[in-house]
């Protein structure tokens, strides 16, 4: 299955366009832009709306909404006199759970939340009520972590893309955010609304000019500067652009359109559409790290650094990884770990599928569930054979799925254990709970070593 991001939008967070658009011409133009975005999303045939909201701060990693039908009446903390916002949303809880798992696979702290009465934030409520008023498109909402840096936010997007690709979804990404976020600190008459300062207005226009040219990654790389120039500190930083750019493959050649730009009690509110269609312009100048896996926070306050060597899951040495070759009949899966030599994940001959030896290493991170069997100095360390065996079975399932086969079509399995005495029982238990159900023939061999610090590998032949 081939999922993809079919569109991106930037929308403002304050409730005025939803509740009282008629009170100010600018607010009604924002409302019209929301409506235009709503229609474009409908026409794109998107089957998933993903909201990254700056008005949902989190502390323990990122939180993902997973209540299938959250309902409540929201009242804004500041603008309570504009009215109440009843909501009832259609949340894709399965996608939320899968994203949460993908976050963990990429080293992120993350959790789903599914509690009656959970306070969905104003930015998400405004975005979902206006962009998806009939709830036809299922949605997911993710928080903005107050401590997250660029790498954490980038990896969050990549984990989301992992799931979009795996599940074949046509997704639209939305960042609920202000441009400049300085509001008037006193009460104003709606007709007097304007951007708080000329400086904020000039910066907003510059950022929007970039977005109109499709230069999303440029805006992401200027994120820290923009934050310092036009953002009230410690509200939420300008990090949504990191997420949105990573969702779009860090590109500078999107097709951008600014649907509206107006003041909301002094803050800059814009509705921007970013189409993945390449404009053929805007060279990609990619200066910052393209990080795939989050290694944890740097603990700058107490100097207790987490280094790669402390990470029990990640072997810090081992053979180089190869891109699997695309030979005739080859089946390669992004969802399986990269090979340690020049061979494909599997090869089809007639209606039979021959898999290369499959180990427990995780795709993307190369980590080993259950831990490696030796440290980087070659000293043996404790590991969990059951976790390793389960991971092998999961990798086999991924490759079979990619090839159009499945677990029940496995004919024959050859298993290799590096320590038969220690591991046979645990390996056998997981086998009985998984592959054993499907009834393939099996041969188990003890061997001296495998090329990476793993304890188990399986060689599989399946029908297709």
């Amino acid at each position: 299955m081939n999922g993809s991001l079919v569109g991106s939008y930037v929308v403002p967070v304050h409730p005025h366009p939803l509740l009282v658009p008629e009170q100010n011409e600018g607010w009604s133009r924002l409302r019209a832009a929301f409506d235009e975005a709503r229609d474009a999303i409908k026409e794109s045939d998107a089957d998933l709306l993903i909201i990254y909201s700056t008005t949902w701060p989190s502390i323990i990693g990122h939180q993902i909404q997973a209540d299938p039908n959250p309902q409540w009446t929201l009242v804004d903390q500041d603008f309570h006199d504009l009215g109440s916002m009843d909501y009832s949303f259609n949340i894709d809880a399965d996608f939320a759970e899968a994203w949460n798992e993908a976050n963990h696979n990429r080293g992120l702290q993350s959790r789903t939340v599914a509690y009656h009465g959970f306070p969905i934030d104003v930015g998400s409520v405004v975005a979902l009520k206006l962009l998806n008023p009939d709830n036809k498109i299922p949605a997911v909402i993710v928080s903005s972590n107050v401590y997250a840096n660029r790498s954490e936010t980038t990896v969050l997007a990549k984990a989301c893309l992992d799931v979009i690709q795996k599940t074949g979804r046509k997704a639209v990404a939305v960042t609920a955010m202000s441009m400049s976020n300085r509001m008037f600190t006193e009460f104003i008459d709606p007709s007097d609304d304007r951007i708080h300062s000329l400086k904020d207005d000039e910066w907003n226009r510059k950022v929007l000019e970039f977005l109109e040219e499709g230069r999303l990654e440029d805006v992401a790389q200027l994120s820290r500067t923009i934050h310092q120039q036009i953002r009230v500190q410690k509200v939420v930083t300008f990090k949504p652009m990191w997420w949105l750019s990573a969702m779009n493959g860090n590109r500078n050649n999107l097709t951008g359109r600014v649907l509206a730009y107006e003041a909301l009690h002094g803050a800059g509110g814009a509705v921007v559409q970013l189409d993945p269609t390449s404009t053929g312009m805007g060279d990609k100048e990619y200066d910052e790290d393209d990080v795939e896996y989050y290694r944890g926070e740097r603990n700058v306050l107490d100097g207790e650094e987490t280094t790669e060597a402390d990470d029990p899951l990640t072997p810090s040495s081992g053979p180089a990884l190869w891109e699997p070759p695309e030979s005739k009949g080859a089946v390669n899966s992004k969802a399986a770990p990269k090979p340690v030599g020049m061979y494909p994940h599997a090869r089809q001959v007639g209606d039979l599928l021959y898999l290369s030896g499959v180990g427990p290493r995780q795709p993307g991170t190369n980590s080993i569930p259950g831990g490696p069997i030796r440290d980087e100095d070659g000293n043996p360390v404790e590991y969990d054979i059951k976790a390793q065996t389960r991971a092998v079975v999961e990798n086999i399932a991924r490759i079979l799925e990619e090839a159009g086969s499945s677990m029940d079509k496995i004919v024959d399995v050859t298993s290799f254990l590096v320590d038969m005495d220690r591991d046979f029982a645990g390996y056998n238990e997981v086998w009985a709970a998984t592959l054993g159900h499907y009834g393939p023939t099996r041969t188990t061999l003890a061997i001296r070593a495998l090329p990476t610090p793993i304890a188990v590998e399986m060689k599989v032949i399946a029908k297709i």
Binding site: S58, Q77, D78, L301
Partner: protein
Amino acid sequence: MTELPPTLMAKGSIVAGCLAPHPPHLVYAENPPQNEPTSEGGWEQLRWGYERLRESLSKIDHDVLVLLSPHWQTYVGTHFLGIPHFEGLSVDPVFPNLFRYTYDMNIDVELSQAIHDKAKGSGLAVKMMENPDFRVDYGTITTGHMVNPAFDKPLVVISSNRSTHYYSVEVMQEMMMELGRVTREAIEESGKKAVILASNSLSHRHFTTESEVPEDMSKEHIASHAMHLWDMRIIDYMRTGQAQRILDEMPEFTEQAIAESDGGGLTWLLSTLKVPDYPAILHGYGTIIGTGNAIVEWPCYANEGDVQ
């Protein structure tokens, strides 16, 4: 009661001022009937501290609790809950696994309005919150619960204006000193006896991970040594009657300890107490996911000459 001119009414007073932080973990650890999740305890040092505070307040006659919570964050002015009764379910957006609390509280709208009016008169941007669908913030509920779990006394609930971040700690302090002054004036004119509650932590750097069992106390400690030093310095000023020094050092403290005093509660509290030069009682100190929390009481009734 017939309306009398303020001078003829029994003079109201602030009988105690308290620093009363609001981590939902404390409610969670207590397993009260109002909270849905259950725990195996935890954070006892702080919960015993609250027990001592409750014991102490139970001996002081008071009519109303006046509270400022940093989790009702307003960017446009300072707001006051403005209808007599609120009830509903509060789910903490950051720790929904710990706090899903059914609340039921009464508001002293008359006193709220009086503080609001005085604040307006002195040039502050203020607003009464009169939308009945409004959900009371979890900071107010947590502090309210820890101080008076029966919620049988009315509250005045004041929002936290974000002036520290819009401007600076200095601007915040100027506004909060003024708000504190008019809060005191309004209480005195009301004839009521009030307890003042500033609902905030001290140092406020969190851990970004949570242990499998959130109440696992073997994982709980201050986020860093620097945070500890700041907390102890501020507590020392409290215990030795040097409130003015807290105000003087507030910009450094707030910045370096990322302190939750950024929300203005502590400054407002000290202002309502006329910047006390008598010692406060430290009922407890402890950390919650790395942040520093102190439960402190200034027993005004015993130290201010003009209180009957």
